[in-house]
Subunit: 335 residues, 2 copies
């Protein structure tokens, strides 16, 4: 058994600005074996997500950085190949945090079993996994959508944004997406059922967003920041809620942007429009997981919530997949 | 009766930057008489508050501007001098919005009677009025103080700030004030019972605030903005709540401040620290008034919440009182 190889990708260098292929290194090491109380899982699916950019830096954040030389972190769907852990047997499917490698050990903490007949295994990393739950939590806890309100979400074709808009539709909202390019926008409206989707790369972006939100914006699900936020900002209605779950436009920034300082203008609107900005991490709301799996699981099964996965074949292509994701070249975040 | 004079102060010009005496004009007109369904009240106390600066501008805000030539708005305690309104009789004391004038008419809307034996009449404009309720609502709805947490409030000797810190103490928090000058700081600690008060005019402000908040800041009650916010910002703990009820440092600003743009840094902290910024206006929470009057009224009567009123004698001195308030020269906001 020990002659088996574990291929893994480690952080070779901390990126300055956008990550490059040379910031990653593919290594081959012996496949781990299970000690008592452990199991070994073989990775079937690895999730690539924007938050991974943050883990590559050593700036203080909500989670520790990946050490130089350590395996990149990431959610994984795996199959147990060897178990010395009670409750798990070879052949079981599990969701865990194996990271960017072919084999990983686990003592069962933070792992849950998956039923491969209930939903495709890959959905445990997407619409029924962390991205879908991020959408669910942000709306349930902060966004609080009400019938007749207008919700806007950027990266609307992505793993989180696509679920945000579809849940908002279930709550009776007008769902307006923002995405990059006509192909993504078409997908968001035609396949996902958003009421409208605006191309932030088009020259008329601001006007098109205004036109798509004739009654202003009540919920802006913030996952990008930057120019999109600036365009959304003047359209926010009194009492608008802004769940902040990501700022992908800023992740690669190396210096503060030049002036003028726009913070006072935003704070003034927070006051006069009684806005709520609230950051959240899905990990802080574990207690909502059963409700999420029940509600969104049912919507996925009956087709009310649809999803699309971007698949990159081969572990060696994961760095390119993440780089592309951060540049907006992917549809979703499932390699 | 009609020969009686009503002295009133009208908005003569829209200020550019800080208001000046010449932006106001004292007028004398005949005293109004009550029509059927009205009463006439004589002003006993007029409240001067920072929000009045906003009403002098014609920039869009949560409330309409005062028109040029119109009487300046403001909360007032009055005594009924003539009533053709059922439920009110000459001699009754009332809280209303008479504005900057000696006599005002009312049809009873937005007015409530005051019991002069329950608490000093002036408190209806301060600790038991809009400023006190602003403190109560901001903490109850957004701040949600928990025992052992640290609360920071600026303008801590002011009408709102002084109540914020004292309510937080009742909730078991460490209350840290920020005020301008050693005299105010001494008052905040010695008379109001805050755990500490830091002088934002002193050279060691940032270090002194850090020292006063050894466990960071869980609630920052925002009523000033500007330099104070910048100093508070790095001390905010994960899950900190920032009720935003005023931005007095910005009210006189005429141009956006120069760069760099600090918004991305703040948004990044909103995300990574899961901060909540929420603007609120006390008028949106009328339903909490009975609870406020009961709870804070009891604390005022038994001395657990103390207050100090700055009194300016004479309507003709109201403009100077407001100008001084905006410059931080007053303790509170009761002229």
């Amino acid at each position: 058994m020990a002659e088996e190889i574990n291929r893994r990708i480690v952080l070779a260098a901390r990126p300055v600005g956008a990550p490059r292929e040379s910031d990653f290194r593919l290594e081959q090491v012996p496949r781990p074996e299970a000690e008592i109380g452990q199991m070994v899982c073989r990775t079937i699916w690895l999730s690539l997500d924007p938050y991974m950019r943050g883990r590559m830096s050593d700036a203080p954040s909500y989670a520790p950085s990946v050490a130089l030389g350590a395996v990149m972190v990431g959610g994984t769907v795996g199959q147990v190949v060897e178990s010395r852990l009670s409750g798990y047997a070879a052949g079981d499917y599990v969701l865990g945090h194996g990271g960017w490698q072919e084999y990983w050990t686990s003592d069962g903490r933070g792992v849950r079993k998956l039923d491969p007949t209930a939903a495709p295994l890959s959905t445990a990393l997407g619409v029924l996994g962390m991205p879908g739950m991020t959408a669910f939590v942000g709306l349930r806890v902060i966004g609080q959508p009400k019938p007749g309100e207008t919700l806007v979400v950027a990266a609307a074709s992505g793993a989180v944004g696509s679920v945000v808009g579809q849940i908002a539709k279930q709550s009776g909202c007008r769902a307006v997406g923002i995405a990059g390019g006509p192909e993504k926008c078409r997908h968001v409206v035609e396949a996902l059922g958003f009421d409208a989707c605006v191309d932030h790369r088009a020259g008329n972006f601001a006007q098109a967003l205004r036109d798509a939100c004739p009654k202003g914006i009540d919920i802006y699900f913030e996952n990008v920041g930057g120019k999109v936020f600036e365009t959304v900002f003047p359209l926010l209605n009194p009492f608008a809620r802004i769940p902040v779950c990501g700022l992908i436009a800023h992740y690669n920034a190396t210096t503060p942007p030049p002036g003028p300082d726009t913070l006072p203008r935003v704070m003034r609107a927070v006051l006069t429009k009684r806005l709520t900005f609230r950051g959240f991490l899905v990990f802080d709301f574990k207690e909502l997981e059963p409700e999420f799996l029940t509600e969104v699981g049912a919507w996925v099964r009956d087709g009310r919530v649809r999803y699309r996965e971007d698949i990159v074949e081969g572990l060696e292509n994961a760095p390119g997949g993440l780089i592309g994701l951060l540049e907006g070249r992917n549809f979703g975040s499932r390699p």
